[in-house]
C-alpha cells in the first residue's frame, strides 16, 4: 500500500528544505517530490535494512562492536572525535559528552569549510538574518565564491532569487543578482552582473569595495582583475539598495586569506549598514553543520576545534582542528561521526588515519568506514530516525522519520559507547 509523508525535511545541504513529499511503499521510498537532484539521491531507494557492524572489515555483533570501540577509545592516550555535521543535534550533544569523558579533542567539518567564518565573526561580529528576511526584503543579492545552483539547488527558488515576498512582490524581477567568482559558474551564468575575480584576489577586492563605500578614491585602474569603474557601479548599487545581502562560500573561506577574507567581508557589510540595510550569510554545506556549531557553542563555549584534555573545553583552531592533529600525528585514535575524512582530507592527514585505530559511525559505508577498525551502520537522520537540525541561518527544524527505522540511531550508538567507555 502506498503512503505519503508531507513536509519532510531534506538534510542533504544547509538549506534544509522542509516541504518534501515522499511516497512510500512498504517502508521504501518510491517517489520523491519537490527535492532537488541532491535531495532525490538522499531519499530515493534508501534501504533501511538492519546491517551488522564490522570489526576490521568482518561482520560482528552490536555488543562486540560497542565493546571494541569503547576499548579503543578508553585505551587511547589522545583520541579525536571528528565530523558531526551530518547527524542530529541530539547525537552531537552525546558526542561532546563522550569527548569530555575521554579528555579527547572534538572537531566538526566546520574546520574544513566555514571555520574561518567563525574566526572572522569572533573578530568583527556578523551582521546577518534568517533566509525569510531575504525572501521578503532583499533587492540586491551578491553570491561570492559559492555556486548554489549546483551545491544548494533550491536556494534560488525557495529563499533568495526567485520567490516573491512581503516587500518584494515581483520575485526575480525585483531583485538584482551579482556573482563574484573566479570562473563562470552555473550560478554566474544566471546573474545580472558577473565579476570575475583573479584567483587569490578576494581580499584586495573586498578592501577596495570597503574603501569605495567609505567614499575614498582609489589610485588604481583595476583590483583583482576588475576595473574600478565596475566596482564603483557595484558600490553604488550596494549603497542604494533597500536590503542587500552577500552569500558567501568556500571560495572565500578556503582560499588564500581564509578568515581574513571573511573578516573583510563582514567589515564591508557592517560599513554598508551606515547607508542601508545589509546582511551576510555563509552558505553552510552539510545538513546540520550549523547545528554542530550551535551544540559545541552551548556545551563548550566554542564552535569547533575543542580539546578536553584538562577536563574543561579549550579552544584551538590550528591546534585542535582535525587536519592539524592528524598531520602532526598527535592523535592515536580517531572517532568519525557522520563524515568521511579519508575521502576528503589531505593525503598527509589520511596517511595518519591509516596508521591508527578508527571508529566510524555512518549510515553508508564510506571510504572512512571501509578502512575503519570498527564500523557502525546507523540510521540516516531525517530518513529513518528523528532529531533536530539547524538550517544554514540557524533556524532549527524537527526531522521526521518517514521510513520506519530498523537500525539504531547515531545517538543510540554514541550513548552505548559512552556507557562502554565508563565501564572500561
Amino acid at each position: 500500500m502506498l503512503t505519503k509523508a508531507k513536509d519532510v525535511v531534506c538534510t542533504f545541504c544547509g538549506c534544509l528544505c522542509d516541504d518534501i513529499i515522499l511516497t512510500l511503499d512498504e517502508n521504501r521510498i518510491v517517489k520523491v517530490e519537490r527535492a532537488c537532484a541532491n535531495g532525490m539521491g538522499l531519499f530515493k531507494n534508501y534501504n533501511p535494512d538492519l546491517l551488522s557492524p564490522k570489526i576490521r572489515g568482518k561482520g560482528a555483533s552490536w555488543e562486540k562492536a560497542i565493546k571494541e570501540a569503547s576499548e579503543i577509545l578508553s585505551s587511547a592516550k589522545y583520541p579525536l572525535i571528528y565530523g558531526l555535521s551530518s547527524t542530529s543535534s541530539e547525537a552531537q550533544r552525546v558526542s561532546v559528552k563522550l569527548a569530555e569523558a575521554l579528555g579527547a579533542s572534538i572537531d566538526s567539518t566546520s574546520s574544513v569549510c566555514h571555520g574561518p567564518t567563525g574566526l572572522a565573526m569572533q573578530f568583527v561580529g556578523e551582521p546577518t538574518c534568517t533566509l525569510g528576511e531575504i525572501k521578503n526584503r532583499a533587492d540586491l543579492l551578491i553570491f561570492w565564491g559559492c555556486n548554489p545552483i549546483v551545491s544548494h539547488s533550491r536556494h534560488f527558488a525557495r529563499y533568495s532569487v526567485m520567490p516573491s515576498g512581503r516587500f518584494v512582490q515581483d520575485g526575480r524581477e525585483s531583485r538584482k543578482v551579482v556573482v563574484v567568482d573566479v570562473r563562470l559558474t552555473q550560478t554566474a551564468r544566471v546573474a545580472d552582473v558577473f565579476l570575475q575575480v583573479k584567483p587569490g584576489s578576494d581580499f584586495e577586492l573586498l578592501v577596495a569595495l570597503k574603501a569605495l563605500v567609505k567614499g575614498k578614491s582609489l589610485d588604481a585602474v583595476e583590483v583583482g582583475g576588475i576595473s574600478i569603474k565596475v566596482l564603483e557601479e557595484l558600490v553604488s548599487d550596494m549603497k542604494s539598495c533597500r536590503y542587500g545581502v552577500i552569500f558567501f562560500g568556500m571560495g572565500l573561506t578556503m582560499t588564500k586569506g581564509r578568515d581574513l577574507n571573511v573578516r573583510e567581508l563582514f567589515s564591508l557589510v557592517k560599513e554598508l549598514n551606515d547607508h542601508t540595510k545589509f546582511s551576510a550569510l555563509p552558505m553552510r554545506g552539510h545538513g546540520n553543520v550549523t547545528g554542530a556549531d550551535q551544540v559545541m557553542s552551548w556545551l563548550c563555549g566554542y564552535p569547533f576545534a575543542v580539546n578536553f584534555s584538562r577536563g574543561y573545553p579549550r579552544y584551538g583552531p590550528g591546534e585542535f582542528s582535525a587536519v592539524d592533529l592528524l598531520c602532526n600525528k598527535e592523535i592515536d585514535a580517531l572517532f568519525v561521526l557522520a563524515s568521511d575524512p579519508v575521502a576528503h582530507f589531505p593525503s598527509k592527514a589520511v596517511d595518519h588515519i591509516m596508521e591508527i585505530p578508527t571508529i566510524v559511525i555512518d549510515p553508508a559505508e564510506s571510504l572512512s568506514a571501509k578502512k575503519a577498525t570498527v564500523y557502525f551502520p546507523t540510521a540516516m537522520y531525517g530518513v529513518d530516525c528523528e532529531g533536530t537540525a539547524y538550517r544554514m541561518d540557524g533556524v532549527p527544524l524537527r526531522l521526521k522519520a518517514p521510513v520506519k527505522g530498523n537500525r539504531p540511531s547515531d545517538e543510540e550508538v554514541l550513548e552505548a559507547i559512552f556507557e562502554g567507555v565508563r565501564r572500561c
Binding site: 513536509d7 522542509d18 516541504d19 543535534s89 550533544r93 559528552k97 569530555e100 569523558a101 567563525g118 565573526m121 569572533q122 573578530f123 568583527v124 561580529g125 556578523e126 551582521p127 546577518t128 538574518c129 534568517t130 533566509l131 525569510g132 528576511e133 525572501k135 521578503n136 526584503r137 525557495r158 529563499y159 516573491s164 515576498g165 512581503r166 516587500f167 533597500r242 536590503y243 557592517k270 549598514n273 542601508t276 540595510k277 546582511s279 556549531d293 550551535q294 557553542s297 552551548w298 556545551l299 563548550c300 563555549g301 566554542y302 564552535p303 578536553f308 577536563g311 574543561y312 573545553p313 579552544y315 528523528e386 533536530t388 539547524y390 540557524g394 533556524v395 532549527p396 527544524l397 524537527r398
Partner: protein, 553 residues
C-alpha cells in the same frame, strides 16, 4: 523526608519574617510538620542560618539563538573562566555568557532555582528548548517576542482584535512559551529597513501602525487570555537620554497589568543642556502611583558585560558608539536581534549614571512587591553579581563607599546621596523571590508554605563574601552569595556553596485556548512569508517532555 531545622525563615508570601521555624519536605514539596522526625529523615541543622525560598530570576538571557551567538562571538570571555567535569557534573566555560551546564550550576551555587529566559523568537524556540534541556537544576520559562510579529501587526492594524488574540494564544501554545515579550515595538520592524522609532506614535513602516497601538493591543490580549504573567515590555528609546519621558508615557497610558523589564536602561533623563542624567526618582515616583505596573531593574554591575537584545537598532547604536564587534540577527516575520560586548567602567560618567539610575529605582520604589532584582544578565552584568547588589541595598556604609568611587559629575540631578534606605532581609527575600514569583504568576514558587515546591536556600551569614568573586572588581562585597545548602525539588543540590549533584529542572509554559479557525486563517499568509512549512513550525512534543503547563485565567 528532609527537615531544615531551627533556621531563621524569610518567607514574605506567608508573612514570615525571620522567625525560627522548621521546614519539612517530602515528595518535592513543602509539607506539614509532624510531631517528631521519623527515622531515616535527613535533617539539616540550620541554627543561626537564613532560610529562604530558592531565588528566582524573572529576566535573564540564558539560552537560545541569541545567547549562543554571544557565546560563540566571545572566546575571550571564556578562556580564564572554566569549570572542570567532576563525577556526573559537566564541564563548562564562560564569564558573561557561560555554557548551559555551567549556567545551571552557577545559579544554584548562588541559591537560585528558577530562571526565566527573557526573549526567544518563536521560530527559534525549538533551539531554546534544546539548550534548556542541557541546563540542569533550574526550573525555567521562556518569554517569546511578539512585539514586532508581522502577522500579528497586520491584524492589530486592521482592528481584527479577536484574530490577534487567537494568534497570540496559538503562538504561545505552539512554541511552548510562558509569556509575551515585547521589545521596542515597531522599532525593530523599522530596523529591518535601517530605521527605528523615537515616540509611541511614530509610524511602523508599511504597517499603518504605531508602537502605542501594538503595546496597548498586547496588554489587552494578555489580560483577556488570563496569562499568568503580564506583558513583559522592553520599551522604546532604551539607553537614550530622555527615555524617561517615553517610559513615563507608557506607565501612565497602560490600562492593564504591565511588567517593565530592566527599567534602569529606560529611565535616563536629559538636563537642560541635553546631557544624560538619572531619571530614576522621576520614574520611581510614577511606579509608586501605578500599582498595575511592575518592574525589574537591570542594575549595572561594573566590569565586563555582553549586550544582547532583540532590539536590533540599539545594538547597532552601541556598535557605532564603542566600535566593538557587532552581530545583528534579523528574524523573519518576527523580530530582530543584536549582540555587542561591552565594559562598564567605574570611571566612566555614563556607566556611573546608569548605576545611579538603577540604585534610585531600588531605593525609591516604595512597594518591594512591585520590583525585582535583575541585571538583565548579561546586558548590565552577569547574574552571579547579584550578591554585590544585595549588599549595596542592605548596607548603607558600603553603598556610600561605592558612591565615593564614582565621578562626582554623575550625581548631577540625582538624589541618591540623600537616600539612607537599607533593605531588610525580608525585603531582599521579596525582590529576589516572592515578588518575582507573584509577578510571574508561579503560585508554587517563591514561598515555603504547605504545598509549595521544595526549592530552598540556606545561608550562614558568616559565610557572606567567603568565596572569592571571579568578577575581579576590587570593591566587590557580597551578601547571600554562598549558600550552605540549596534544595531543589526536595533534593539537596548544593552543599557549602558547591553543586553536589544535579536535579532535574522543568520548563513552565502556557497553553491558552483559542478559536480553532486561527490555523486556517493564517496558514496561507504564513507559507507566503515564512520559509518553513506551517506544520513544521510548532515545537513538537519531543521537546516538551520536561515541561509543565500553567493554567491561564
Amino acid at each position: 523526608m528532609l527537615v531544615i531545622k531551627d533556621g531563621q525563615v524569610y518567607d514574605p508570601i506567608n508573612g514570615i519574617n525571620g522567625e525560627t521555624k522548621d521546614i519539612w519536605i517530602e515528595g518535592g514539596k513543602i509539607v506539614e510538620s509532624l510531631d517528631h522526625i521519623p527515622q531515616g529523615a535527613t535533617v539539616i541543622d540550620a541554627l543561626g542560618m537564613i532560610v529562604m525560598p530558592g531565588g528566582i530570576d524573572i529576566h535573564a538571557h540564558i539560552a537560545g539563538s541569541k545567547v549562543n551567538t554571544g557565546r560563540k562571538l566571545c572566546p575571550e570571555d571564556h578562556y580564564e573562566h572554566f569549570r572542570m567535569a567532576k563525577g556526573d557534573l559537566r564541564s563548562g566555560v564562560g564569564f558573561t555568557v557561560p555554557t548551559t551546564f555551567m549556567t545551571g550550576y552557577k545559579y544554584a551555587e548562588m541559591g537560585y532555582t528558577t530562571v526565566v529566559e527573557a526573549a526567544s523568537a518563536p521560530i527559534v524556540t525549538r533551539h531554546t528548548y534544546e539548550e534548556l534541556d542541557d541546563m540542569p537544576i533550574l526550573d525555567k520559562a521562556i518569554l517569546v517576542t511578539l512585539g514586532n510579529n508581522e502577522l500579528l501587526m497586520d491584524r492589530i492594524a486592521m482592528g481584527q482584535m479577536d484574530e490577534a488574540r487567537d494568534l497570540v494564544a496559538w503562538m504561545l501554545k505552539s512554541v511552548g512559551g510562558y509569556g509575551v515579550k515585547v521589545v521596542n515595538p515597531g522599532g525593530v520592524e523599522n530596523w529591518k529597513w535601517g530605521g527605528n522609532v523615537a515616540s509611541w506614535d511614530d509610524e511602523v513602516k508599511y504597517f499603518n501602525l504605531s508602537p502605542r497601538k501594538i503595546i496597548k493591543a498586547l496588554i489587552k490580549i494578555a489580560d483577556e487570555l488570563g496569562l499568568p504573567h503580564p506583558v513583559h515590555l522592553h520599551g522604546i528609546n532604551l539607553g537614550l537620554p530622555g527615555s524617561d519621558i517615553t517610559t513615563a508615557e507608557i506607565i501612565k497610558d497602560a490600562c492593564g497589568r504591565l511588567h517593565l523589564c530592566h527599567l534602569q536602561f529606560l529611565s535616563y533623563g536629559k538636563d537642560k543642556k541635553g546631557r544624560m542624567c538619572s531619571g530614576g526618582s522621576y520614574i520611581a515616583n510614577l511606579i509608586n502611583e501605578h500599582p498595575n505596573v511592575t518592574l525589574d531593574v537591570g542594575q549595572i554591575v561594573f566590569g565586563n558585560a555582553t549586550t544582547m537584545t532583540s532590539d536590533g537598532p540599539l545594538e547597532y547604536r552601541i556598535q557605532k558608539m564603542t566600535g566593538h564587534k557587532w552581530c545583528n540577527e534579523d528574524v523573519e516575520c518576527e523580530t530582530g536581534g543584536g549582540i555587542v560586548p561591552l565594559k562598564y567602567k567605574i570611571t566612566s560618567l555614563s556607566s556611573a549614571i546608569q548605576w545611579i539610575t538603577g540604585m534610585e529605582l531600588f531605593l525609591l520604589v516604595k512597594d518591594p512587591w512591585s520590583i525585582a532584582l535583575t541585571t538583565d544578565h548579561p546586558n548590565a552584568g552577569p547574574f552571579f553579581c547579584y550578591p554585590q547588589i544585595i549588599r549595596l541595598l542592605m548596607d548603607r556604609d558600603y553603598r556610600n563607599y561605592f558612591i565615593s568611587l564614582l565621578p562626582p559629575r554623575a550625581f548631577r540631578g540625582s538624589v541618591l546621596k540623600d537616600l539612607g534606605r537599607e533593605y531588610s532581609l525580608y525585603e531582599i527575600a521579596i525582590i529576589t523571590r516572592a515578588a518575582q514569583a507573584k509577578i510571574l504568576g508561579l503560585t508554587n514558587k517563591g514561598h515555603l508554605g504547605i504545598g509549595a515546591d521544595a526549592d530552598v536556600s540556606v545561608y550562614a551569614p558568616e559565610n557572606f563574601g567567603k568565596r572569592q568573586c571571579i568578577c575581579r572588581f576590587k570593591h566587590c562585597r557580597r551578601a547571600l552569595d554562598f549558600p550552605s545548602w540549596v534544595i531543589k525539588g526536595g533534593e539537596v543540590v548544593v552543599k557549602d556553596g558547591v553543586v553536589l549533584n544535579e536535579a532535574p529542572g522543568i520548563v513552565f509554559r502556557v497553553a491558552p485556548s483559542h478559536g480553532e479557525s486561527i490555523r486556517d486563517k493564517i496558514r496561507e499568509e504564513f507559507e507566503k512569508y515564512y520559509t518553513i512549512s506551517f506544520d513544521n513550525y510548532p515545537v513538537q512534543e519531543d521537546y516538551l517532555k520536561n515541561t509543565k503547563e500553567v493554567i491561564c485565567g
